[in-house]
């Protein structure tokens, strides 16, 4: 460093660097910039003291404020739980019927049930609860085990043909291939199909009526309207669980398929099951 170079035009000291006659002025940093810079340095140091920052050999400094993001999340979750506690308490202490009658409680339970449905139920019953062959559509007004709020609640809590729950819906239809003649199978299938107007061979229906009365009416009823105690479906309506048409009925009579639903009561807890029951009841078919 030798003598100072001063730029003639501006009167500002230069760095002494020159390129093609252009010299670089050695203007100071603007003061506001400099002070902001110093402030950020102070801020950064204070920050590392106040908050967890410096790595040590096996851990890190905890900071004088004792902040921890994990504890933060825990607190937030606890606060969320506390905020819900009144509602949870109300769901616990009320029966599903009472929840349904309370407008506010019903709306909250429907929203909660909708969320629980998306997590636990849509794998079989589909995202719009419209089901698929073998998995009932929950929007319609046909219920295998009953569509009142208490019946829906029981079905969800204890499941269907579920080994792990002794209160589960347990009845099954026998395989009639071993019980009646193939001819009789065709006749009864024609009869059942004719009840919903889908028979291929209506001339067999008359003979089928007797087969039905002898073998099927015990569960499905004399008028084939089904029996919800036994999970025997209504055979006269426009809804079929597996498929409609005479051929499908033949197959179902010979070797019936049986759906299984887990008991959700033990798995999700009573509150969640109540919410699910309220939600399913709200889908349009609830009785």
């Amino acid at each position: 460093m030798g003598e100072k170079h001063i730029d003639e035009l501006s009167g500002v000291e230069t760095t002494g660097h020159e390129w093609d006659g252009i010299t670089e002025l050695n203007n100071p940093m603007p003061r506001w910039w400099l002070w902001t810079f110093y402030a950020t340095v102070v801020w950064a140091l204070a920050y590392t003291i106040a908050y967890p920052a410096w790595p040590m050999i096996s851990s890190a400094t905890t900071g004088v404020l004792g902040y921890s993001s994990r504890a933060d999340v825990k607190n937030e979750l606890a606060a969320a739980e506390a905020a819900k506690s009144d509602y949870i308490e109300a769901v616990k202490s009320n029966s599903v019927g009472d929840i349904l009658a309370d407008d506010k409680l019903r709306q909250l339970a429907t929203a909660a049930g909708s969320a629980a449905f998306k997590v636990n139920c849509i794998q079989c019953h589909a995202s719009g609860a419209q089901g698929s062959p073998g998995f009932p559509n929950l929007n319609d007004d046909e219920w295998l085990w009953g569509g009142s709020i208490d019946q829906i609640y029981k079905s969800i809590a204890h499941g269907v043909r579920f080994d792990g729950d002794e209160n589960t819906h347990a009845s099954e239809m026998p395989a009639f291939a071993d019980i009646i003649e193939p001819k009789q199978v065709n006749e009864v299938a024609a009869y059942v199909a004719s009840l919903s107007g889908t028979a291929d061979t209506p001339e067999l229906a008359a003979a089928g009526a007797k087969v039905f009365a002898d073998n099927c009416a015990a569960c499905h009823g004399d008028n084939a309207k089904g029996n919800k105690e036994l999970g025997a479906p209504d055979l006269t309506d426009a809804i079929a669980l597996y498929a409609s048409g005479q051929a499908a009925i033949v197959s179902q009579v010979r070797h019936p398929k049986h759906g299984v639903m887990p008991a959700w009561g033990a798995r999700l807890g009573d509150v969640n099951v109540k919410e699910l029951a309220i939600f399913v009841h709200s889908l349009g078919g609830g009785e």
Partner: protein, 518 residues
């Protein structure tokens, strides 16, 4: 007539004048505006009183809206997404009214600028108003221009210290009040004030007040004219909207030049002498630190205080007022042409005066007709059109609205008797602050009936729904059409009617059926 030598002459430099302005990077040279008095100063006091009054007092005005809505006349209830302005209540989807007002403000600014120039800057801009207010405080404590300069250059003493502390303290109080008034527009003012002073208010209230306190204090007290000159984009834009018929603060050099401090002596020597006695009063009062005699310049906010200052001097020396005046460029140029003999000579004030020493008849003075020109008519027309449109929209707007979302998953449900059911989420907007009872019904779709979850399980074509005041009521509606009537038209309407009034709204909906049934 006073001798012009008796006019006080001020040693003052227009620090922001383009001629002598320092390059960037040098520290700002302070401006010490002298107190002005005159008609424009009076007018500015009135404007300041009105604008500050509106700002500070509006949140405290009450307006009775009944038991179901707040009673604050002007309230932006962001938490509940409702905006109240006296008798008008706006829901978020009606925010286009605010957009319309902003369009009107824009066009209005064009109109104002094309007629009276930068009047916004000079009179009503918050920066101008608050700087004026801060200057009042500064003058009250430190004295007028000369006293302030002296104090500023004086070494630190007890007197200087207490004056500075007092000034900044009062500035801060004003700044806190300014930031404080802002938050009252967003919540019930009396309740929020109580919560604010007892430390119970939301953090956002304190943060907002802190930020606005800082900006008010820094912009109004410390930065002042630098905000206008360096930060504000408006002077750049506004200059483009001025034309030769817009009023602007003008130094009429056609009668002022050649300026002379010793007019009598110069006259005796046979020199030509203009009206300007070079007393610098116009420079001393300028809050922007410029010299209006340099001509039009970006820094000038047209606050017109130099007009007041100059008029006072002209009165003293017995000349006509208006050496500095609001003038249009067209008038100025026409007068300039006379003074310079169409640009062939330097300015000779003798050319603009008749034998009696009065201003010549050929001199153009501002006339109101100048403002009436196609451009201002177009602006005024567009402004009124938007305003009338908004007014019409406001007067004819719905206070009852229906929106319908149709279930898409599943699109339809087959019921046991073969009938088809569709689900809809119906939203009824009760946009008045009183509870109302609505009749929701379906029109069209033969044989169809509906049921509403949680309200009435019986199937009808018309259902009563109670809506809370000023709230959105959402209901799940199932519409069922019997098998026999399927396919007889898939379009129908949800109709909602206020049972107590005549208001109704219609939503055109669609009914989905399986393909084979169509």
């Amino acid at each position: 007539m006073l001798d012009d030598r008796e006019v006080e002459r001020l040693e003052v430099e227009a620090v922001n004048s383009a001629r002598i302005r320092q390059p960037l990077y040098t520290a700002r040279q302070k401006v010490f505006p002298k107190r002005a008095s005159g008609q424009f100063r009076q007018f500015k006091w009135v404007i300041m009183l009105i604008t500050l009054g509106i700002y500070y007092l509006t949140p405290w005005l009450r307006w009775d809206r009944g038991p179901y809505a707040p009673d604050q006349a002007v309230l932006l209830d962001i938490a509940n997404r409702r905006f109240y302005f006296f008798a008008i209540e706006i829901w978020p989807q009606e925010f286009f009214y605010v957009a319309g007002l902003l369009v009107m403000a824009g066009i209005g600014l064009f109109l104002v600028t094309s007629t009276v120039g930068r009047a916004w800057c000079g009179y009503t801009c918050p920066q101008t108003v608050w700087v004026d207010l801060f200057l009042v405080v500064e003058r009250g404590i430190e004295g007028d221009r000369n006293a302030r300069i002296k104090l500023d250059s004086a070494p630190w003493s007890l007197t200087k210290l207490w004056k500075r502390i007092a000034k900044h303290a009062i500035w801060l109080v004003i700044a806190v009040a300014t930031g404080g008034a802002w938050i009252f527009y967003f919540a019930d003012a009396p309740r929020l004030l109580g919560a604010f002073v007892t430390g119970q208010a939301e953090p956002v209230a304190y943060i907002t007040v802190a930020i606005l306190t800082a900006t008010t204090y820094v912009f109004g007290g410390l930065m002042r004219e630098q905000v206008c000159t360096y930060m504000c984009p408006w002077p750049r834009i506004q200059a483009a909207m001025l034309d030769e018929n817009s009023l602007t603060v003008t130094y009429n050099d056609w009668r002022g030049e050649p300026r002379s401090r010793h007019a009598k002596k110069a006259l005796a020597e046979g020199l030509s002498v203009g009206d300007c006695v070079d007393c610098n009063a116009c420079v001393a009062v300028c809050p922007m630190g410029i010299d209006i005699r340099d001509g039009q310049q970006l820094e000038c906010i047209t606050c017109a205080l130099c007009i007041d200052a100059c008029d006072g001097v002209m009165d003293k020396i017995g000349k006509e007022r208006g050496l500095i005046s609001y003038a249009t460029l067209a008038d100025y140029q026409s007068n300039m042409a006379i003074a310079t003999d169409r640009g062939t000579a330097t300015i000779d004030p003798a050319r603009v005066r008749d034998a009696q020493g009065k201003l010549d008849k050929g001199i153009s003075h501002f006339h109101i007709r100048r403002l009436l020109r196609p451009r201002t008519f177009v602006y005024a027309g567009a402004w009124s059109l938007v305003g009338l449109g908004l007014l019409a929209a406001l007067l004819s707007r719905d206070r009852l609205d229906i929106n319908v979302l149709q279930d898409r998953n599943p699109q339809y449900v087959v019921l046991s008797d073969g009938s088809i059911r569709n689900g809809y989420t119906v939203k009824l907007l009760n946009m008045v602050p009183e509870p109302r009872s609505f009749e929701l019904s379906i029109e069209g779709l033969p044989g169809a009936v509906m049921s509403v979850v949680g309200i009435d399980q019986r199937e009808t074509r018309s259902i009563t729904i109670d809506a809370e005041p000023d709230k959105l009521k959402t209901v799940r509606v199932y519409v069922r059409q019997p098998r026999e009537q399927l396919g007889q038209g898939q379009g129908f309407s949800f109709v909602v009617v206020d049972r107590a009034g005549a208001e109704r709204d219609v939503y055109a909906a669609k009914f989905n059926v399986p393909e084979i049934a169509r």
